[in-house]
Amino acid sequence: MANIQDKSESEWVRVLSEDGWTFIVPRKVAVASGTLKNTLSTGFAEAEAATCHVPHRGAIVEKVMEYLSYKTLYESAGPKEDIPEFSERIQPELALELLMAADYLET
């Protein structure tokens, strides 16, 4: 039990894409996604290993991770602070797949 506790406290988690890419991101960033948050919370094997599988290809998962970092960075921004548009970073050819990944990950 103590072991699990330690792991869940650890700061980094691993996110795997379906084609074998690994993304190591801060836990704070990963839990900005509803799905990843639930998977990393109590009781599942994913939580114990701090590893999540996302059934999308690497390029998409990378973009999602980029968005999650963007979200955690600007979430606490003050009302006067300028937030850059994320849409400029999305290549249109990724948009459809990214939309489905976004839906899956509840972001």
Partner: protein
């Protein structure tokens, strides 16, 4: 020699003509009359102010005037050479203007004025020269206390900027909408995914006339739009024009659809066979009739939920114009009544009939007559929330006249009794068995009805809903798994005797189970078993955590 010099210097520095008020004895005499005059004028002003204040107080009816002194001592009438009793009690209280005090710093005697400042640290008062030496500007105006405007007290929030960062889905939809014209840029993603994307966009409630074009295609034969809230009649006409080969069309939340769009469809969708609409509130009778006339015998499915204007002339027209209907749903139709049923009885090919949730319940006898006429081919029957239907309609209608029924949905029929339903299932023909049975919220039903149902078609049941069969015994619930091993979806919510062991028996006994709903089952606890691939909804302890 020194003092005038210094005083001139300070005068130049501060610009005030009063720097040597108390030291004036050895200063030049020319200044004095001027300052005295000013002093007098000021005293007069103070007097006038005090008078006004006193008047105000009288108006208010406030008798205790001395309380005010701490706050407004500048306006108080000077009382010469005597202190008030209150002042004597309190050493920090300000002596009256005009009285002689000893300076706390240089111990000279000086006259109190309204500009005299307190020594820091106290107690005592500073003469004018010492105050200036300490770096305090005695003439510094006390900023008038600003009264807050009453509007400022109440913070009016006209809108709250809750989420400044848009969701990734939202951003993607925006990007897709921007690049709609550029099909190459978006890339081909296949039909299955298209449907999936339609779902996602509907979930985000952002399907618009512009981005819906992404899903239009001349080759489309079926189209499902899960959220047509933002599609105006024009957009719905465009939909028909851009998908001319549609055979099946389903629009959910199509509240904006009205007569013109339906009439446009009459002419522009030549192959339409199946139409499913949720919420076409604004369509009027003539538009419906014109639509039925234009589609005629080719229409096989007409599925409508919530249409308050659909009246008996519509159903007459539907029955005469479209005799080949096999699927009919008139759910939540405000004007539905027994008088509709003789017309529906002419649709002899019906396999699917849904007349649930009318405003006024249909009656037993009318439904029995209807089933006698068209029950022969029915496989799906939904008569939920017809409060007047009782055991009679089951026994006299469903029992003798529905030989091939596989889906029976009778939710919310309060008049059904445990005995009646159990008797019905005992007498009902066994083949084909029921696959989907929903008798939820029939509060009288309990163990006998469940035993009857499971004995009748348990072997083949895929979906079972016995929500709110509150008195069903634990023993009977335990038999579900063994008698209905093919179950995929089970709802045992509000069956008060369901417990962890019932859940366990279902998980063990039904190999293809997808979910169990057990809302309001207090005996199902956190300790209830879990199984990969099976969702258990409604466990109370899960909600709490």
């Amino acid at each position: 020699m020194e003092s005038p010099n210094r005083s001139r210097l300070t005068r130049r520095r501060s610009g005030y003509g009063s720097d040597d008020l108390d030291a004036s004895d050895d200063g030049d005499e020319g200044d004095q009359p001027k300052t005295k005059k000013a002093k007098l004028a000021k005293a007069a002003l103070a007097k006038a102010k005090a008078k006004a204040k006193a008047k105000q107080k009288k108006k208010k009816g406030d008798a205790s005037g001395s309380d005010d002194d701490d706050e407004d001592e500048y306006n108080a009438l000077p009382i010469k050479n005597s202190r008030r009793i209150t002042d004597l009690d309190d050493p920090t209280a300000r002596p009256p203007i005009g009285s002689l005090e000893e300076c706390a710093e240089c111990h000279k005697e000086f006259t109190m004025t309204r500009y005299t400042v307190a020594a820091d640290p106290g107690p005592g008062w500073l003469c004018h020269a010492c105050a200036k030496a300490a770096g305090i500007d005695p003439f510094k105006k006390v900023a008038p206390r600003k009264r807050k405007a009453p509007t400022e007290k109440r913070k009016v929030v006209s809108y709250e900027d809750v989420e400044r960062i848009p969701t990734l889905s939202g951003i993607c939809i925006k990007v897709i909408t921007q690049h709609l014209e550029d099909v190459e840029a978006l890339g081909d993603i296949g039909v299955v995914s298209m449907n999936e994307i339609l779902r996602v966009i509907a979930k985000a409630r952002s399907l618009t006339a512009e981005n819906s074009q992404l899903f239009y295609n001349v080759k489309n034969t079926t189209l499902t739009i899960y959220d047509a809230t933002n599609l105006k009649p024009d957009a719905l006409c465009a939909l028909a024009s851009l998908n001319p080969n549609l055979e099946s069309l389903r629009l959910d939340y199509c509240g904006l659809i009205e007569g013109t769009a339906v009439e446009h469809w009459s002419n522009s969708l030549p192959h339409l066979k199946r139409i499913e609409l949720l919420g076409p509130f604004l369509v009027r009778v003539p538009a419906w009739i014109k639509f039925f006339e234009s589609k005629g015998p080719q229409l096989t499915s007409f599925l409508v939920t919530q249409s308050p204007r659909f009246d008996i002339t519509c159903i007459e027209s539907l029955v005469t114009q479209c005799p080949n209907l096999t699927e009919l749903r008139l759910k939540e139709i405000g004007l539905m009544a027994d008088s509709f049923l003789p017309h529906i009885a002419k649709l002899s090919d019906l396999t699917y009939l849904d007349l649930s949730r009318p405003k006024e319940s249909l009656g037993d006898q009318a439904v029995v007559d209807l089933l006698a006429a068209i029950g022969g081919k029915l496989t799906h029957l939904d008569l939920s929330h017809n409060a007047f239907l009782s055991d009679v309609f089951l026994e006299d209608g469903v029992l003798p006249y529905t030989p091939v029924l596989t889906t029976l949905i009778l939710s919310g029929l309060d008049d059904l009794t445990d005995r009646g339903v159990s008797k019905f299932f005992k007498a009902y023909r066994k083949e084909p068995p029921l696959i989907h049975a929903d008798l939820s919220r029939c509060h009288e039903l309990a163990s006998d009805a469940l035993t009857g149902l499971l004995d009748h078609s348990g072997r083949d049941l895929v979906e079972l809903n016995i929500n709110s069969w509150k008195d069903t015994s634990n023993d009977t619930l335990m038999t579900i798994a063994s008698k209905a091993s093919r179950l995929v979806r089970v709802d045992i919510s509000w069956c008060r005797e369901a417990d962890d062991f019932v859940v366990k028996s279902l998980l063990d006994g039904c190999s293809s189970l997808a979910y169990i709903k057990c809302y309001g089952c207090n005996h199902v606890t956190d300790a209830c078993p879990k199984k990969r691939g099976v969702n258990i909804y409604g466990v109370e302890s899960h909600v709490a955590s």
